[in-house]
């Protein structure tokens, strides 16, 4: 007797309840403030200055090798980076408190091609609005923090990729 409406409603329930599994865009920050500047070196001694990225959307991630969600999101950041660099979007993953040897060992297991500047004495992280790792910020072309994401994400999710490309195209 319930054969017709029941499958329809069951399908509806499954669709609605599975919706939160898809990535949700982080809320846009109202009245965005300029990101604190930094100059940091990576394990090869190459220098990265935030000011050098003015005019580009920049994804700034803070991480450590001992942090499980940081490790978990790294492969998706690499997949996202392969799409984003074609759009002239920058990505910097700032390691907090570890040395070059530790990062070198980490990259053997988690090979990434975007820059990994080192904040060895935690000076930079203490100037940014961060409480826990990982935290990722998205800066607009004016260098302002427009999105903050706490915890790991699947960064190659189309919703998040679209969000970044839309920002770059503004």
């Amino acid at each position: 007797m319930l054969s017709k409406p029941f499958p329809f409603l069951l399908t509806l329930v499954l669709l609605v309840t599975s919706a939160p599994l898809a990535a949700e865009r982080p809320p846009l920050i109202n009245d965005p403030a300029p990101a604190p500047s930094f100059t940091l070196e990576d394990m090869d001694g190459k220098t990265y200055k935030l000011e050098d990225y003015k005019g580009q959307v920049v994804v700034v991630n803070f991480w450590a090798s001992w942090c499980p969600p940081c490790r978990e999101e790294m492969p998706s950041m690499e997949r996202a980076w392969k799409q984003l660099q074609e759009e002239d979007i920058a990505m910097l993953a700032i390691n907090v408190g570890e040395d070059a040897d530790t990062i070198f060992t980490f990259t053997a297991d988690y090979p990434v091609s975007f820059p990994l500047p080192m904040d060895q004495d935690s000076t930079v992280i203490n100037e940014w609005p961060i409480q826990g790792l990982p935290t990722t910020f998205v800066l607009d072309k004016q260098g302002r923090i427009v999105y903050r994401v706490v915890g790991g994400r699947e960064w190659d999710d189309p919703e998040l990729i679209d969000m970044l490309i839309e920002l770059q195209n503004q």
């Binding site: 409406p5 409603l9 949700e24 001992w66 408190g97 409480q131 826990g132 915890g151």
Partner: protein
Amino acid sequence: MRLAQRITPACLFLALCFTTPLQAQLSRGEDPDTGLRHWQWQEAGIHFKLTQRLPDQTRAFFGARGFDREARERIALACVFQTEFRNTAGNDQPPVEYDLSEWRVHTDDGTQPLMVRETWKPIWQEHDDLPKAARIAFEWALLPTQQEYAADDYNWGMTAYGLAPGSEFDLEFSWQRGDQQYTRRIDAIECPPDIHPQPD
């Protein structure tokens, strides 16, 4: 009439599906491989989970980051849990905030606060020889004392309760979403015992 007969049970099923996740739900469990116990609370768009960390796990973690034996023991024997706090509500809801310094640990001997980042700072100041890298790792390995989570945001981190291994306590914890304040209690949480399991 026939239409109502068809739709009413389906509507009841639908209502059940949507109302169940809104109810507070505590679950306890034990990992069959490690024997580590966990306590998990889900309610009104938050997910909160405590998982026991054996003192040996904590000794190993901080030992690898430059903590000397005395400093390792201090944290390892402080009743440490791996902790997850997550905002599972959507962007249509206000963000969730908590302040660990407001949470309370109840035992037969009384009530005390958690050992948060700010509690540990003066303790580590007494350890002049603790390397800077170790201090940085310690600070960021703990669950943040205050945090705000938008949709899908979460943290994993350690929380310390300042009790002896194997102690039992009740945790009174709270969070806020918009103007709504929530205070809840989980009874009979067990601090991890100081055992040294050997591989089979």
